[in-house]
């Protein structure tokens, strides 16, 4: 097939030279067109990733090879145990919150006729559209120790003020709150797209059979959306787990290094304190969970593509 189509054009244009003929060969042209992408992936993703592993095995001055020394050192430190705990707590609770709110929003939105969804959908997506580094500044100001506008409301209703970022527990809550605010619209959009692809007749049939709202959700919606739900959740898990912006701006890891997650701790150790190898080791701890989640996402996406190709 490819040989036939490759010789065809040359016959039509007999004046074509040797270079043109090679260029017209399907595979040569294909590889040339992919070359920038291949170079980018090799030089700017694969190489830095491998380099990070190499860096993580050097000493602080990068003069000697220490093997797994940095990783062992980290695992022995109480601060780093907190980092691991805090990263998992942050990612898991934020993803659960985002998925629940996004799912609720998508369901509420699905009741409304599609031609009247635009304005509401547009307004609900604003948290996702504003660059996170900028909107987090707005949140930071809302959490300000002396001028917090939230505390003004609490005062008004007679509830004691909250040290939003000054107390470890509340600081963790605040970060999860900001991340949930930012990420829920994404879940809403993904679920809404999935809901729209569920054939309407299924709901009609369930309604006529007298299914309750819960039964419709449990036996029609969830099975139809299972794949897209798992893709979205895993994807969000990766992004939330690797978050940097929110924690960096709100607390920079404080109070007393109790709210660091992997990325902010790696930044503090590697860039601010200048221990590049240790910083590289910190961020490499993210790799296992990222790899596992990525594997399942890729599997889910491929399966969905096959289903869509078959259907």
């Amino acid at each position: 097939m490819s040989a036939a189509t490759a010789t065809l054009p040359t016959r039509i244009r007999p004046q074509a030279g040797r270079f043109t003929r090679i260029w017209r060969r399907r595979s040569t042209a294909a590889v040339l067109m992919c070359l920038p992408l291949i170079l980018l992936l090799l030089l700017l993703v694969v190489y830095p990733a491998a380099y990070a592993i190499y860096l993580a095995m050097l000493n602080k001055r990068m003069t000697a090879f220490v093997g797994m020394g940095n990783f062992v050192f980290l695992l022995k430190r109480a601060t780093f145990h907190l980092v691991i705990f805090q990263s998992c707590l942050f990612a898991v609770s934020a993803v659960i919150a985002k998925a629940s709110i996004g799912f609720t929003l998508a369901h509420l939105m699905h009741v409304i006729p599609p031609n009247r969804q635009r304005l509401l959908r547009g307004l609900l997506l604003i948290p996702w559209v504003v660059p996170l580094a900028l909107s987090t500044l707005g949140w930071w100001w809302l959490f300000d120790p002396s001028y917090s506008a939230f505390n003004w409301i609490l005062d008004g209703i007679g509830v004691p003020q909250v040290a939003w970022l000054g107390n470890t527990g509340w600081a963790r809550f605040s970060m999860i709150l900001v991340n949930t605010w930012y990420g829920s619209p994404f879940f809403m959009i993904m679920y809404l797209a999935a809901l729209k692809s569920v054939p309407h007749e299924l709901f009609e049939a369930a309604a006529i059979d007298g299914a309750s709202a819960w039964q419709k959700l449990r036996f029609v919606t969830l099975p139809m959306m299972r794949n897209i739900i798992s893709i979205t959740v895993l994807f969000s898990l990766i992004v939330t787990f690797a978050d940097f912006t929110i924690v960096r701006i709100l607390t920079a890891g404080g109070p007393q290094d109790t709210t660091h997650i992997f990325a902010t701790y790696a930044f503090e150790v590697g860039i601010q304190s200048g221990d590049i190898p240790l910083g590289a080791a910190v961020s490499l701890f993210m790799l296992p969970i990222l790899a596992v989640a990525s594997f399942f996402i890729l599997r889910g996406v491929m399966r969905r593509n096959r289903e869509m190709a078959a259907g």
Partner: protein, 287 residues
Amino acid sequence: MKPRRLTSLSRQRRWALRGSYAALAVFVVLFLVPPFHMFVTSLKTSAEISGQAANPWLVQHPTLRNYIELLANEHYRGFFLNSIKITVVVVAVSMAISILAAFSLARMRFWGSGVLAAGVFLTYLVPDSLLFIPFFQIVGKLGLINNTWGMLIVYPTLAVPFCTWIMIGYFSSIPKELDEAALIDGASWLQILFKIFIPVAMPGIIAAAIFAFTVSWGQFIYPLAYLYSADQMVLTVGIISELIRADVFEWGKIMAGSLMAAAPPVIIYAFLMDYYVSGLTAGATKG
């Protein structure tokens, strides 16, 4: 029996509709609290902000002074200009790389093309916070630390994989008959790409370009780690460093500066919402 059930169904539906509108309105209000508060603060003078007695959710003497002073501030204008120039170049470079690659991967299967497509998707999942430390060394060796153009090396790694991935999806949905006919007529691959694929897949290209724009405009960790002097900074990091001097927080200006910095993506979104949404969902529903 039958008519009663139908009316109860439609009544049920009407209540569900009202309930949905009400609940969604509550969510809209909650979601817009932070931007609203930013806006209110941006209209206040420092004196009004520090006068603690007044309601922080309202503004007594609205003024545009924060905006005007920022626009007159040479550094702030510099951040804006740096953000624009790096974003424009990154979008152009990323789109060029991903359109070419996606065309090749969608149409001209070659040895290893399946693996490459999966690899593209996997690199999309590699977060910036995993690679910023090795890149610090690499950018440093290239002598591009504290240089806005150094961002040109790192930003495309975030934009290109996803853009390529969704462009593969858009290109694959174009009927094969179209390019086979053109091929028989003697068109070259590049002609097919420019005369057929790019015009037909324009919505996908716009969606991918919006994604590249958003990523590049809002990037935070790389400029925070690599840029440290005011003339090289971009908006996301410049606002904090310029407007916070020791313990003096100019909150009115920080909010005004953030809102102006957020304006370009929000404006693009307001006009191209459908492309934006299709780009958002394309990663999982297309490709």
